[in-house]
């Protein structure tokens, strides 16, 4: 690996971890709500969650550029609060990645929550567990496989994503230049050897992470009947 790519690798890991973490925080309650709500608006919200996926990443990035620019309500608010622009910053990357990968987190979790037992949740309530308590101690363990799927898809997708990230981040070295952009540049630049090396490193690392996740996953028994 060429040394200039090292910060990009590090940044990518930070981005993927932050994004996945945030997605867990946002996606878990959203998925739970979708799994349990009886509102008639549910299909609409489900469709909205999946919608960002439909746009080409660069185009989504373009719209996010419009939405986040310093004169926009969101962008100017962000600027006044943090003193930094939302676009071309790590924060902007994270938000863009979160929006783009949201369905990968929400959908598997929602399915998992829907198929985990109502009877187990009822039992938890009989055992004096308040809803939040029951959620953490029964619904979440019951959805363990769903969490693995959701985390793997979100994490991997954020690693590989570069259209949105390039557009919103502006490819600033050590700030928003992630590894996917670096590999892309090497390929576009005919620097195939570097591209191969970097791809191999990314794939190798990812493979190890995934292998670890899946091997660990085996230890959750499946509980449904």
């Amino acid at each position: 690996m060429t040394l200039p790519d090292l910060p990009a690798l590090w940044l990518t890991l930070r981005l993927a971890l932050t994004t996945t973490g945030l997605l867990l925080l946002i996606g878990t309650p959203l998925a739970w709500w979708l799994a349990t709500t009886r509102t008639r608006a549910k299909p609409v919200i489900e469709a909205l969650v999946a919608l960002p996926l439909v746009l080409p990443p660069t185009v989504l990035g373009f719209y996010l550029l419009i939405a986040f620019n310093p004169d926009s309500p969101i962008g100017s608010f962000w600027l006044s609060v943090t003193g930094d622009t939302l676009t071309f910053s790590f924060a902007g990357l994270v938000i863009a990645s979160v929006i783009y990968s949201l369905p990968f987190m929400v959908q598997p979790l929602q399915t998992a929550f829907e198929t985990t037992g109502r009877s187990a949740m009822e039992l938890a309530a009989s055992l004096r567990a308040a809803p939040l308590d029951a959620f953490f101690t029964v619904a979440m363990p019951g959805a363990a496989r769903g969490f693995v799927t959701a985390i793997v898809l979100s994490f991997a997708h954020t690693l590989g994503e570069f259209g949105v990230v390039l557009m919103v981040g502006g490819n600033i070295p050590e700030r928003t230049r992630v590894i996917s952009i670096a590999i892309y540049e090497h390929v576009d630049n005919l620097a195939y050897a570097e591209a191969h090396t970097l791809s191999a490193i990314l794939l190798g690392l990812s493979f190890i992470v995934l292998l670890f996740v899946y091997a660990f996953n085996r230890r959750f028994p499946v509980h449904a009947h």
Binding site: T58, F62, L65, I66, F68, N69, P70, D71, S72, T85, T87, F88, L166, M167, G170, N171, I172, R175, Y184, E185, V187, D188, N189, L190
Partner: protein
């Protein structure tokens, strides 16, 4: 069968040249009756595809490096590489008024958009200009790079970067009222952005392709190309 194919050609065009190509295509087709198919992409991508067997007949690159490389790899019909347009770089801001290189030195300037110098000749040219102005250190961390000149333009257009080095052709394609302010760096500050065309080896016998090469060298084409803000050789 050679005759049957001769009426069609597929042109791989660098994405910044696409609006010009659209007009060239219309004129060429009405003049010759040949039928062109246009495939647009970044120069790097198109090059990669070509060396992996893409069914293109002509390659209109956004630089001269990639066509030269194809020539060196004997992927083209010998002697068919030529410069069809020379790109003009401009420093652009959407708001009107005057703009000078000093704007780049303003302390409250947050972001300047350029195309990725690794990938796009306009990006490389922009870095040359910045270096020529002695601003390289000052602008470090403020430069945001688009994958190509189109993205650089989008950064500025959407107000995310206050200024940007874009292609003159892009600014000229805007409506009169939207052209804002621009400063065209002198040619002395950057290597000319030569955009080369080649006829690919597989298409040596393609009449439509040969006809288009001839057309591109002709005055009709040159006039159209100049109209979009390019120099012609």
């Amino acid at each position: 069968p050679a005759q049957a194919q001769a009426d069609e050609a597929t042109i791989a065009v660098a994405s910044n040249f696409r609006p010009v190509m659209a007009e060239l295509e219309t004129v060429f087709e009405s003049q010759t009756g040949h039928d062109l198919t246009v495939s647009v992409g970044s120069t790097g991508k198109l090059y990669t595809q070509i060396i992996h067997g893409a069914p293109y007949d002509i390659f209109l690159a956004a630089d001269e490096a990639r066509p030269k490389r194809l020539e060196a790899e004997s992927q083209i019909v010998p002697g068919t590489r030529f410069t069809y347009a020379i790109g003009q770089l401009t420093l652009w801001r959407p708001e009107g008024g005057e703009i000078s290189p000093e704007a780049l030195a303003a302390p409250d300037l947050r972001h300047v958009a350029i195309a990725n110098p690794e990938l796009a000749p306009y990006g490389a040219a922009a870095t040359e200009v910045i270096a020529g102005l002695g601003l390289t250190g000052q602008l470090e961390g403020k430069l945001v790079r688009g994958e190509n000149i189109g993205q650089a333009f989008a950064f500025v257009k959407t107000g995310n970067a206050e200024l940007g080095f874009v292609a003159l052709s892009q600014v000229l394609s805007l409506e009169d009222g939207e052209r804002g302010a621009r400063w065209d760096p002198p040619q002395t500050l950057y290597t000319p952005i030569r955009q080369d065309a080649v006829l690919l080896k597989r298409s040596a016998d393609n009449e439509a392709a040969q006809a288009f090469i001839a057309f591109l060298r002709g005055d009709d084409a040159k006039a159209i190309i100049s109209g979009y803000g390019y120099d012609t050789p």
